[in-house]
Symmetry: C2
Subunit: 219 residues, 2 copies
């Protein structure tokens, strides 16, 4: 997939899926990705903090095959070397990862670079550095999924980004069926949901219901 195709998925999607094996009811990351693809999710991030690199590689290689065949954008969290090894469409980094300019040097110009931001200053810096393709905006609400996450920044930061930042962004953090309408009503085009998707028994049904919730927001 070219950079353009990978980004187009991002720019035209409503949902951004992430793996989170410990919340996946005993299913593997691979099974979850298969279900997300079936559900029509077009952007999937492989996020895995615990496993040894070899097992992440083996798993992510399979996920790369599945996403490639389905025309789904695959973003790898944190591990630049893993992203390069499996030829992912992009990488997603946080504020305490390698600096974006350095990551851009490592990945070249044909991979998407996403950066988590938690404040107006971080969003402005992401714009200024000139190498970031999209930002994460959050955590909008309280979340238990990430262990090293900061306090929720609330809807105010989302409003700031919608009004002031030109970069594409994904809203993330504590977004659920019952609050996603508000997030999209305020201007988010795409939202990342973790447990609300991976913890569902039937992921395609759950995703359809989440999409209904977004749709209701625009009525």
């Amino acid at each position: 997939m070219s950079l353009g195709q990978g980004l187009t998925n991002f720019l035209t999607s409503d949902l951004y899926g992430l793996t989170a094996e410990e919340y996946s009811l005993g299913r593997s990351n691979i099974e979850i990705v298969e279900a997300m693809i079936t559900a029509g999710i077009k952007v999937i991030q492989y996020r895995e903090k615990e496993k040894k690199a070899l097992y992440m590689y083996q798993e992510c290689l399979k996920i790369r095959e599945l996403t490639q065949a389905a025309g789904v954008t695959l973003i790898v969290n944190d591990h630049i070397d893993l992203a390069l090894a499996v030829q992912a469409d992009g990488v997603h980094i946080g504020q305490e990862d390698l600096p974006p300019q350095i990551v851009r040097q490592l990945i070249g110009t044909s991979m998407i670079l996403g950066l988590s931001t938690h404040s107006p200053a971080q969003a402005e810096a992401a714009v200024q550095c000139g190498v970031v393709d999209y930002i994460g905006v959050g955590p909008i609400f309280a979340t238990q999924t990430k262990k090293d996450v900061c306090e929720p920044v609330g809807l105010d930061y989302l409003d700031y980004v919608v009004k002031n930042i030109q970069l594409p962004f994904v809203a993330i953090g504590g977004i659920k069926m019952n609050n996603i309408a508000e997030v999209h009503r305020r201007g988010a085009k795409i939202s990342a949901l973790v447990t609300e998707i991976v913890s569902a028994q039937n992921i395609p049904e759950q995703v359809a219901a989440i999409r209904q919730s977004i749709y209701r927001s625009s009525c």
Copy 2:
């Protein structure tokens, strides 16, 4: 430093230093590397498991400057992206990291690739894969430094490597002042010591004493 220069340091040295901040008596990895350089150690591995990538990068960048200026070979443990980002001389991986062939693709041909091995089968595989520049052989003795290490393989595995494996190797694991003579008498040319160096109050004096111990082995 070219691949050749970096490897020459490896092939002509007796000691291989590693960082281990939690055993460094409150000194930073940077201070420890400075002391190792003063002590005349020519191969240093940056090993850091706990810190966020950004802080590893900032620290390792400084260590890269120090080692470069001193003509010391810098090897980065595990983190291929970090090694590339700081332009280290090489990377060192374990059996549960990205496969050596994949790592070689990521680092190109101008960086050293080291691989930990713990058995004759792993040493043979390292030779067969054709992309590894040196192997780690150990743990020779019991060690508490690494949390995810296997049981000591003892001197038998060292003897096997000396007799059967053509690749350069570094002996590692529980090597101390009082047993390094035996390791070198059996054919090791270079040994990696962690706590025995980083936990010394005066690292140059300690390294001189360790070298005396090796020297006594050849009498």
